[in-house]
Amino acid sequence: MNDKDSLYQDAIKEFARAAHGHGQLAAATGEAKLDNPLCGDRVRMQVSVTSGHVAAIAHETKGCLLCRAAASVIGLHAAGQDANGIEAVAHDLEGMLQEGAPVPPGWPELSMFEPARRYPSRHGCVLLPFRALLAAMAESEMKRVQR
């Protein structure tokens, strides 16, 4: 199989296996649990945000390779980002999957999901950890302003 076109590239398998960021935070400022009711993928994402920027994340991800690999990319890259930055990546990633837009700048590893463009039913798997991260950050922000 041509690795560049294959959905299950080695990179995806390696990221899923590595599971960067897997675990729990001792002092999360925000948390979200999201699942995809139609396929059973499930992500629990915790963040610790200081001055509007991600200090750390941790996730527990049950799901397919695509979902686990995406969560792992977040584990590698999220630290230091603010909400706008994460939103932009999630938006660009959706564009990449659905309309063939370029790979989100600064997140070159996401190119490994390009073959998933052909499988609309799998887009949700890749996007779920990003949605969970955004939800966790929103929760963190809400708690902050309520304090």
Binding site: D35, P37, L38, C39, Y119, P120, S121, R122
Partner: protein
């Protein structure tokens, strides 16, 4: 774009195969357009799989076709988003869905306002809601011409009124409802508005946003599509607040023995395997409709309607139901001939290949308000022409002699 000189009849296999048939019962069910038939067959033979759950290519193709059908319906209705379109099994199912899902947000003493002109499918579900929950069910009366008497609105749209649910067009008199006036009055008290579009859709694309309403219901079989499929459109923010009606596969968030959570709309309201091929067929019919010149079709339908009304008014003793002006009505024309029963009339007309319906047309409260039990109805659609109307007028003269 089709022009009206092209005989639209050719696109309807049943009519094309029956050149002598004068089909004047489209208000009961329209004939199916070839594009819808073909789309159903194509879907079933190239994309058949269950939706929303499979990752193989066939299942993805089925999903895509089904969601594209949703988008087509959204365009036909000028809805704000495809997610506002719920596929049901028909207008009756759509109306029952609202009477339960929205009905469950009401409490004893809240008012639902319908009209005496409603089809039983938009009448009985509200009666049931009344009997179940103790809401007040109020009725807009009709004028002698069979139109909703909106002069009575000020006293009927009370402060406790939560919903106005009326037909866009009567399936007996053809009278169009003055939706703008209704919506304005409803908005003043914060009531939502449901429009039963079952009779309207075969007369052209709709604009639910311009109408300013909250819910819209119709059936595929009345707008040149397949049976077994219908639509409920609802405003996104309103649907998001409602609990489901039917429950089961495909509409859940998570199920445990203790409790169940719901998927977001529209899935929340589509329990079980939906009518997939039928939705695809309906979309094909609507796509075809959206290529037509509706101004021309309306002019033509009105002309035929006037020809018919003029002819009927020449029959002694005949009572025409509904407005005389063709602008005030869809081309649905019902009448009563004292001493002649509609079933006898229809039977004699059938021998002349005229397909008309006699009876109470699932509108007994309206029949009672008009002082009759039953009537004879001719309904005109875009495939009818002058020969149908002339055959009917001729057939009626014959029936009057035959049955005397």
């Amino acid at each position: 774009m089709n022009t009206m000189d092209t005989p639209l009849r050719d696109g309807f296999p049943l009519l094309a195969a029956s050149p002598d048939l004068h089909y004047l019962d489209s208000a009961a069910t329209s004939q199916i357009h070839r594009s819808a038939l073909d789309a159903v067959a194509r879907h079933e033979t190239t994309c058949r799989a269950n939706v929303s759950r499979g990752t193989y290519r066939l299942a993805e193709a089925a999903d895509r076709a089904y969601e594209q059908a949703r988008q087509t319906v959204a365009r036909f209705l000028n809805a704000g988003a495809a997610g506002e379109v719920i596929f049901t099994s028909g207008a009756t199912a759509s109306l029952n869905l609202v009477a339960h899902a929205f009905g469950n947000t009401l409490k004893a003493g809240d008012r639902v306002l319908i009209s005496v002109a409603e089809h039983h499918s938009n009448f009985v579900p509200w009666q049931m809601l009344r009997d179940r929950t103790g809401i007040e069910l109020a009725l807009i009366p009709v004028t002698d011409a069979g139109q909703l008497d909106l002069a009575r609105l000020p006293e009927l749209i009370t402060g406790n009124c939560r919903l106005v649910a009326v037909t866009q067009c009567s399936n007996v008199t053809g009278a169009w409802t003055d939706v703008a006036t209704l919506v304005e009055a409803a908005r003043k008290v914060g009531a939502k508005v449901l429009l039963d579009g079952a009779q309207a859709v075969q007369h052209g694309p709709q604009d639910v946003r311009a109408l300013g309403i909250d819910f819209y219901a119709f059936s595929g079989h009345k707008c040149f599509g397949p049976g077994g499929v219908g639509v409920l459109w609802g405003r996104e923010e309103l649907l998001a607040k409602l609990s489901p009606f039917h429950t089961g596969g495909g509409m859940i968030g998570e199920v445990t023995p203790q409790a169940t959570t719901w998927a977001p709309p529209p899935q929340r309201f589509e329990a079980g395997t939906p009518p997939i091929a039928q939705a695809v067929g309906l979309a094909a019919a609507l796509e075809w409709m959206m290529t037509l010149d509706w101004q021309q079709i309306h002019a033509r339908e009105s002309r035929l309607c006037e020809l018919l009304v003029d002819g009927l008014l020449r029959i002694p003793a005949l009572r025409l139901l509904g407005p005389e002006s063709s602008a005030a009505r869809a081309p649905i024309v019902s009448f009563d001939i004292p001493g002649l029963h509609p079933h006898d009339i229809c039977q004699v007309l059938d021998a002349r290949n005229l397909a008309l319906r006699g009876g109470h047309h699932c509108a007994q409260p309206l029949m009672a308000a008009l002082g009759i039990d039953v009537c004879t109805r001719a309904s005109i659609a875009l495939y009818n022409d002058e020969t149908d109307i002339l055959a009917l007028l001729d057939g009626l003269s014959f029936a009057l002699r035959e049955l005397a």
